[in-house]
Symmetry: C2
Subunit: 378 residues, 2 copies
Amino acid sequence: MNHFQFSLLTADPESAARRGRIQTPRGVIETPIFMPVGTQGTVKGMLPEALKDIGAQIILANTYHLFLRPGHERVQRLGGLHRFMNWDRPILTDSGGFQVFSLGELRRITEEGVVFQSHLDGSAHLLSPELSIGVQQALGADIIMAFDECIPYPATREYVLQSTLRSTRWALRCKNALGEKGQQALFGIVQGGMHSDLRRQSSDQLQEIGFDGYAVGGLSVGEEAEVMYEAMDFTLPLLPQDRPRYVMGVGTPENLIEGIRRGVDMFDCVMPTRNARNGVLFTSFGKISIKQARYMDDQQPVDSVCSCYVCRNYSRAYLRHLYQSGEILASVLNTHHNLHYYLDLMTQARQAIEEGSFSRFRREFYRIRQEQNLLSES
Amino acid sequence: MNHFQFSLLTADPESAARRGRIQTPRGVIETPIFMPVGTQGTVKGMLPEALKDIGAQIILANTYHLFLRPGHERVQRLGGLHRFMNWDRPILTDSGGFQVFSLGELRRITEEGVVFQSHLDGSAHLLSPELSIGVQQALGADIIMAFDECIPYPATREYVLQSTLRSTRWALRCKNALGEKGQQALFGIVQGGMHSDLRRQSSDQLQEIGFDGYAVGGLSVGEEAEVMYEAMDFTLPLLPQDRPRYVMGVGTPENLIEGIRRGVDMFDCVMPTRNARNGVLFTSFGKISIKQARYMDDQQPVDSVCSCYVCRNYSRAYLRHLYQSGEILASVLNTHHNLHYYLDLMTQARQAIEEGSFSRFRREFYRIRQEQNLLSES
């Protein structure tokens, strides 16, 4: 516990929003925070310096992908993931569970773990809680995640119950596998689907085991936003105040605002990066698709209130040209803008919480979108 | 001539190598220089800041591509190519001739110009000397090129003769089309194939018309290196000493050294950028293919004597991983390294000429390659 510490700095008077700080061996993370996703040891299209330029405090890397290629032992021999990818700030690795469970026909669940076939070459592997921790130790992430099942939605109550109990048994095995050694913080992941009693049971049992932080898993898996918010509503109050809370795989800018309001400290999602590569850009007034012909002669920046490198230097017309021409720079610039948007939104949210004005900030966030949408419809 | 001026600074005592300086409205170009190719209004994978970081003084853009997409008039409406692509240093545009003539079945040559079908949508266009100049004016490049035919190799003497005479007539039309207006420098392009008398005739007639600089076209079109060097040998002495000399579409690092030795001031080639995207990297000891399994665990930088951002921060193992994983950053980092290699080679060549030691520099360049190759074979 010496190397990893969470401090609660400010609590919003009108909501559960909270401003916090996580100390890690590789520096401080101000929360609430969004973590850009660097699946294969690179946030697609972003140099580490560009990530720092937009204020990225921590990134996420995927255990499943790095386990298969280039291999966690290779990364360890090469000095660990930070050195490998030239990123000296904190890294969080997921457990590999989400990707392995997503393989469908290519995987089989046992109590021991999940037997799966590599999406790269079809080779068979068993990913167990112990191996997941071993891989994450070899990669050397600052925050590592317990191996669990991200339960699909919808699922029967019986399936959710059995899966959640198994994930809890796996979480204990993860904790034991990590032991006392090292400087890595281990987070448990609350499951329980959309059932408040199962979420409570999961949360209680995980806290009994004891983790450095708690994630809420199994959200943003196809359910309606309202269902997700309801699950957040009854799950987040179950978590200890003095530990960081991480909602995995979430989400849209609206999801982030709603998550923060309910007391979430950490988010990650491929949305800003993946959308960028498809020409979809986030702005203060909603999403735009830069490939549209309407931007062909548009000299304006993507978002006139955005201060990012892309908006300071390039027009929508240029970004549209790059996208239409299949240029590498299209992905590079679009990703830069989108990640800046997400991180800037977090910066604004943190500031609003500090100033006790988060509710006003949230209303303003929705008002600008609505106004611009009315304008564009008229 | 106020805005564009070439000064000869140092002549190498042992060869025709020369150190020069080109003044343009957008800044100074120290020669000999290599110009990175930015075909569609972007040097693939390179931010303008990265280009400056590696010392790019001038880049090349392609008239043919920008004419078809996004269209030169659109670029002009958007403030010109410099503003469009966020590059405030000099730009040279080619005439579009090379691409149009490369279209094979899709084009037909007349005295008026070349009728061709767009490779994008099959639409028919006539590219004439006058339109080529008009497009290059609209784009707003600092150095523009006369519209000519880059003669294929091999070709009959009669074809070379007729084509060269037509290119000269077109060059005159280009000069007339540009007129006195503007701050753009216009270069004529010497053709004449591998025939010294036709090269002389072309060079004489172009000088009679009078251009701000002279290019040697029709090289690096499939001929042996020795044939190219011979053509340089008899063509470069035909060109005036007080104008920059540009050998188009050349070439390998060896070609550049041999060109400089023969008095060339400017080069351009897609080789460093295209090879980078295919995982082929230039080093002081020759080319390497980063996709090879031998680099899987290689902690070394691409080239231990290279000072570029990539070699300072990443291992061969990481670059190999990025390439194998199809990551955007593979192209970004490989391109950065290769262009740095090319530009650094030019910096070293300039310094050697200044110090009167170009011949020694050239011997050393070959010696290091040979030594390393012997080492890697043993």
